[in-house]
Amino acid sequence: MAAANPFATDLNPFQDPLRFERRVSPAILVLFGANGDLTMRKLLPALYRLAYERRLPSNFAVIGNSRTAMSDDDFRQKMYESTKQFLEDSPFDEDLWQEFARGLFYVAGNLNDPALYQALTAKIHEVDTARATGDNLLFYLSTQPSFYIPVIEQLGASGLNKGRHGYRRIVIEKPFGSDLQTALELNNFVRTVFPESDVYRIDHYLGKETVQNVFAFRFGNGIFEPLWNRRYVNHVQITAAESIGVGTRGAFYQGVGALRDMIQNHLLQVMATVAMEPSAVFEPDAVRDERAKLLRSIRILSPDQIRAHTVAGQYGPARIGGAAVKGFREEDGVAPNAQADTYAAVTFFVDNWRWAGVPFYVRTGKRLPKRITEIAIQFNEAPHTVFTGDATNPFASRPNMLILRIQPDEGISLRFLSKQPGNGFRLRPVSMDFNYGTSFGTRTPTAYETLLLDAMAGDSTLYTRQDMVEASWKVCEPILDVWQETQHDFPNYEAGTWGPKSADEMLARHGHQWRTP
């Protein structure tokens, strides 16, 4: 192979991939919804942290937009305050901020107004010239979903979707539609302005280090994949629990619900990552093809099956730790007879050779006892128990379990039986733990740091593709339809408990029970 020409200006001869963090080409991030919560709590802190880690080029720039009139300096001050407040697990360096803030710009305007896009075009030209960003633009839709189509339409009409020699990419936050029909409409519309390869649908769960580690765990080790099928796996439980309620988001939440908010996107993506076939190579489309295939293999439940295999729940009031906790219907902005699900549990089946007959129990809820997200893979018990189980030896037989903890305390545990020290032959379950924080003491990047950098690098492996969005809506929409038609007897679980009794019964029918995380 010929050696790279060090004088070629398209290559930086000073790279050292072994020691330097992966960096990306200079670019302008155009941030719609720059005055919103997501920008202030997640995006700007993530960008600042990337700058701190020297993973952004020094001439990287952000142009923020919202309706609020602000100067560049006002925007910088606002971002300064919020970044300082919301930066997690990281020091704040005033000097670095001054440097970073020089790359922050702002254009006010209404998203439906063509004049905004003229102003943006002028600003982009000015910033690109001043900071030599190579005509690379990454648009980020951090707005209300109802603005997605108008913004994309205006980007097309103003010609901002076409670069002279740089790239044009667009990042879209979930929800990608509120049902299959609206998802199709959105996807079809986006395609008229941006090719699918330049569309980055962000699902921040996929950016979490432990979800990425599922790939490494499954496909980097030889010992697990042979067990990863119906012969050895009894069932899988995926839990995403939150201890908090809906807080100030009650009005919004009652129109969405837990199934739409969590399962349709995050948890089905997690499930697809756990259950997908190995891809031939670790490249964006190869990996996404396999995830999409898995999503398409999930059985679409009939109305009768939905009644047997799904549970909707809503939390009621309770006292937790001596304090009174409101029920969902008492939260601000929530109707007293609201039918929204704050808890959802579904038994999914994957109709393929690998997983035929293996239930995947997926649950999510608010006001559960603690905040935890984990995947628990329960293996079949030993085919024959040689140890006698009785009151003195209650664990004579206990299935092995593999736990992939996504948050908090990211890590992996394997539960197995061991002989209890002492006389007799009493067994006890013990756990072998791998903990990210202790095996790799380095700070774990946040999901947004990972995903923003990936989008700038043009790596869509951890982003959701159009066909995946549609496949997951096809799975969830029939459930939503049945739930919509049902008059639920809510509230059906007390705040601070692990959800409705019917969710336990759903598993009991298969001879299983929820693991207490």
């Binding site: 060090p6 020297r54 080029p57 020094s58 202790t438």
Partner: protein, 321 residues
Amino acid sequence: MTATISAEKLLRDLSQVWTDLAKDSVEKSSTGVLRACAMNLLVCVEGDHDVAATLAEAAHEYPCRLLVLRVRREPGAQLSGRALAQCWMPFGRRQQICSEQIEISAPPEALPDVLSVVRALWAADLPVVVWFRNDSLLVEPALQLLLPMADKVIVDSRRALQPLAVLAQVKALVAAGRPVGDLGWTRITRWRSTIAQIFDNHVCRKNLLGLHSVTIEHTSLEPPLTVPYLAHWLESSLNRELRRTYRSTQNPERWEIQRVTLTGLEFETSIRRKDETAVEARWDGHTAAFVYPRQTEADLLVEEFGILAPDPVFQSVIARL
């Protein structure tokens, strides 16, 4: 009576350390301790050199089975060994994390006897890193026998009494195909990364065609090895020679490097150490500050622990020196 040490006894002691820690912790908080081990680290150190703080800091990022081999040259020094654990409580957690340590003291003449003990003390199946904290130990014949066992050897030319001798050893190790790290090289990673970052910009990159000189200002009387490392890295990256000038500023601040200036036909880039936490770069009318806190020895070690394969960039620089 001649003192002896036994690997079995040290491992038994280590086991007892864990039992005591677990018991103590369970009595106090019922959460137990987490025994963490990601690699083996053998530290060869002269006499009473204090490495405890450095190793404790590095162990936070790479919990390991730590073997400290102290070579004692004072008369009457005896062979001895002990097992202990370094524990810390991560912020916001209730469970202590502990990294295990075995310390062996030996007079030079006992070193050949220690090697088999050291071999028996490795945690199985985990990488072995050997750090020669003092360059005098790098030439100890007995300790040289450790090199083939190591997945990586770490030295520090900057702290060495005889840096050129260390460089010669590094060259020999590289030639033998052994992964080797020199903390003198690690010290300039951020300088290199800052230079790389400036030339991420394609407009700046065009100026590389005319780049002809590099001037490096340092604060020592004589340039430490880090200075030629940086200059030769520039040459190696560009695959051509530059006019190299090293200048001592004899600044009371003991930075490794004070300023780097790259000069071309119509171009000058300079990066200077601004203060304890940052460097400032100037190019093409632009000024930018880059975070660059003063690095501890533990920071440098941690960077090297992350690279257990041969480092081709370092190797190409070594080949030019």
